[in-house]
Amino acid sequence: MSDQPKNLFDKVWEAHRVRELPGGQTQLFIGTHLVHEVTSPQAFAMLRELGLPVRFPKRTFATVDHIIPTDSQVRPFGDPLAEQMLSELERNCREGEITLFDPASGHQGIVHVIGPELGLTLPGSTIACGDSHTATHGAFGAIAIGIGTSQVRDVLASQCLALARPKVRRIEVSGALQPGVYAKDVILAIIRKLGVNGGVGYAYEYAGEAVEAMDMEERLTLCNMSIEGGARCGYVNPDEKTIDYLRGRKFVPTGEAFERAASEWRGVASDRGAEYDDVVTLDAIKIEPTITWGIHPGHNIGVGERIPTPAGASDEERAGVEEALEYMDLDPGAPIAGTPVDVAFIGSCTNGRISDLREAARVAKTGKVRDGVRAIVVPGSQAVARQAEEEGLDAVFRAAGFEWREPGCSMCLAMNPDKLIGREICASSSNRNFKGRQGSPTGRTLLMSPAMVAAAALAGRVVDVREVI
């Protein structure tokens, strides 16, 4: 044992190292493998072809989220392709002896919402999933990484991945956030500062007063969009909030075993004096409610700012700004506030948790959805839906003119019937504003916090949520 101070990433990486591979990669043990219906069927097929079993079926958990309809989840689904994908997952889980959290289980939901909710996401663990937003789970102090389908096969077969060790960048957000400013705004501000590829080759450690002050759900939102900043994983050091959140969860030990676990979890946090490959600081008080105006998440500005002009962009960014302005058809130089919206979407693995719905409902209570705006609320999981219904949030949303849906990924990537139509502009609490992302090849997305989405739904245009709450 060395007394040299270490950061969390070093500790977790060391604890999971199986061996060094030639060429400088590490064979890393993956403690928890999360599986969903879209990126796994080919991996199971490859495993079958190789004649290999699932090596650690008890460390593998599945759910259905991407393709599931949110209007009615009665089987068979209206879309035969969606039905086929779930049937295939059911067969693969049955044959592989893998636990599947389907709608009948009462635990179904977006994979990155149910992991923490069920206590599968633990400090000091390694988590992999065939989904880039796996970074979400880092909120608990885990190394959580998104992988492709061939790597899903690797994990099914060996419970390991071959990985190059990334560098670690500590991002300190000092001070306190203003009211009406959320974790979503913080991560968008980080991406704006460091760029959409600034994190390539890095793991991000989020720290500082503003991060310490966040509850677990806000930390999940923060880590969720690490990948939008180019970082394959991001994490927050576990603290007493982390431990309190985990107590009593389905897969978390109880009694003395919990105390032993909690003591380990505290020990996994970065040591004082630990070294980092890079340190970046942000001032929380300067962060405004933030909105994207373009075609990637780095194209974002504060709600009080104006849409960029090509002339004002750096040489390196100009072509991208021009392409984005052309696609979005927004007026360069005009204030972003006031931009009309056709659709409002509240949900996703970024912002589909109970605290997100509470904040959005606070806004929804103040008015009615503007005529002509289609507004939908999609809870992140069945547990989130139950909690919201118990608190009467569904009634608040319905009374204001929002549709209250069943859980799933929904309009974040539109693999189910929830899609934009034509050139619609959507105020969205999701994570990506790529061209065509929300199901229409010409559809447009403005990313923002759930409270801002609710405010935009009521006003029919982008407004500063601080003027509403």
Binding site: G130, I147, N197, V200, H296, M415, P441
Partner: protein, 205 residues
């Protein structure tokens, strides 16, 4: 391409040669490479049919992939942060099934690059000026042969020999035929279970 499609076999990838195609633009995400609606399938078989489908429709026949002079190209030249966004392996699968074996760009998103390696596809990074020069050269003469030497990390074209980079670990995987990781990972044998037994959350607290 059969060697790569077959998977599992230990195929050493040392050289890629073929004609080039240029897709301009930075931060091209995997949703653009393969829109999500085409992922509602349980195999990768038809991915190549929908490569850049929306971008091609929007370009009304003017997209590089629909340009006859680039037909049959095996090397795709791209910009910065190519393949960002979703982890979908459907993106490199679509590119591979369309016929591309290698990508030369200013930089690549991490998960995309890892997925490419898993399929035996090569990603080489060149600096911005050289990418621009290579684009110009290929657009001027799309019939020319482009050669990638994985060990030397070079890209050779009529524009000359350009020194690129491929990360060390990836280069080793390609050169030694270890890019299909399953077999390599399984070689660790019982060491995997021994590691698992040392982790209290796996073993039980």
């Amino acid at each position: 391409m059969a060697g790569r499609m077959a998977g599992r076999k230990r195929v050493e990838i040392e050289h890629i040669e073929g004609r080039g195609c240029v897709i301009r633009g930075d931060d091209i995400d995997t949703d653009r490479i393969i829109p999500a609606r085409f992922m509602k399938v349980v195999t990768f078989d038809d991915m190549g049919l929908h490569l850049f489908e929306d971008a091609r429709k929007a370009a009304k026949g003017k997209h590089p992939l629909d340009d006859e002079s680039f037909a049959g190209a095996e090397i795709l030249v791209v910009g910065r942060n190519f393949g960002c966004g979703s982890s979908r392996e459907h993106a490199p699968q679509a590119l591979m099934r369309f016929g591309f074996l290698a990508f030369v760009g200013e930089s690549f998103a991490e998960i995309f690059a890892g997925n490419c390696t898993s399929l035996g596809l090569v990603c080489v990074a060149l600096d911005e000026a050289e990418i621009e020069e290579l684009r110009g050269s290929i657009e001027l003469d799309p019939s020319q042969n482009i050669a990638i030497d994985v060990a030397a990390q070079t890209v050779t074209s009529r524009a000359g020999v350009m020194q690129g980079s491929i990360p060390d670990g990836t280069r080793g995987q390609l050169l030694e035929g270890r890019w299909d990781a399953t077999a390599v990972l399984l070689e660790a044998g019982e060491a995997i279970e021994r590691r698992a037994d040392q982790l209290s959350y796996v073993r039980g607290y």
